[in-house]
Symmetry: C2
Subunit: 224 residues, 2 copies
Amino acid sequence: MSCSGGLTLYINLLSAPARALTLLPRGIRAPYEEKNISFFKGEHKSEAYLKIHPFGTVPAVTDGDLTILESCTALRYIASKYDTSGKWYPADLASRVRVDEFLDWQHTKLRKHGVGYYFNLIFAPMINKCEPDMTLINSHKEELKKVDADMVRHFIKGRNFIAGEHVTIADLIAACELEQPMCANVTYSQPIMDYLDRVKSHIGPDYDQVHQKVRGFTKSMLNK
Amino acid sequence: MSCSGGLTLYINLLSAPARALTLLPRGIRAPYEEKNISFFKGEHKSEAYLKIHPFGTVPAVTDGDLTILESCTALRYIASKYDTSGKWYPADLASRVRVDEFLDWQHTKLRKHGVGYYFNLIFAPMINKCEPDMTLINSHKEELKKVDADMVRHFIKGRNFIAGEHVTIADLIAACELEQPMCANVTYSQPIMDYLDRVKSHIGPDYDQVHQKVRGFTKSMLNK
């Protein structure tokens, strides 16, 4: 697994931030290469991948000599370097605050509880060969209701997208993280569903394409 | 509690990100106003404060009409707007990646386990009128050892500071988060202790001054 010279994303479409990452170069038409890292083959813990990402998590991004281990950092970097429109990570400080504020907030709210719900429902029983821990899963589901309410009252709050009238990297993370538990039957309020429709419509066919794998996989796991 | 026109920090020095925030305008000599929000008087849940920070957490930052609810976002904003040296949040993309990568990473690693350790040892017994949950506290302490190792092998890795030769906003967060459990007897590896010494020495007397309250408070709680 060697780094090519240009922008390379090491991703797996089962991961929400990996989906957000692949949507960005598509949206800004930046040339990039995509390498799939299979969780089931243990490629994220392989010697070759650990040379790129020493912590062995997915995604990672390389661009020439630069390696980036965090998705939100990589989104900021790719938009700053390759987005000629300046819309995906706006330089205007007030708009940038809206984008950064959501990206900082979601780590311990939307992502924490989305992953808490999804991982414990879908992956933990498979890994640990046990029944799902429904108390834990339902506690994350309850927290996702608060996340929904906080997103509506603060982060969306009458706007089309998090920073205003254009989709930004904050919306890519928001939509991809919201989609993950939704694949596994979590439901959201109407304002969140309307917001997701706007993001999907703004992005176009790539949106459903990058979500196809996680939707199919989750359905097959729930019907087992 | 009304917003003044200029930069205003709503902080409590018992909070690590609040300490990081107050060190920045001091370091760049930007004019600002500081308002203490007392946890013990419940001011963070008061009607007046909830008008500024709808989620009722500390810190918050206002600057004219702009309100910022997330510390890392506020650090990026204050450095971008007020730091004329350009060193605290470097514009050069490769250096900026190093700063952003640490800020994104620490939410669910250093901060998660630092707060997990400190809150459950110091605050939870007081709030819930019970003995500290030492199993939980020790699990966070164990995770802090991994955090220490990951910081040494990746985020510091032979450099003086996270992004190189100058303290940035990433080091403010790193040092203030590392100090919190250290007040309550967590110990770190020598490279982390050396790193903390470098940050402290670079910042000067403000460093100990902003840590005085949390050190004194923690000592008094542990000696109760």
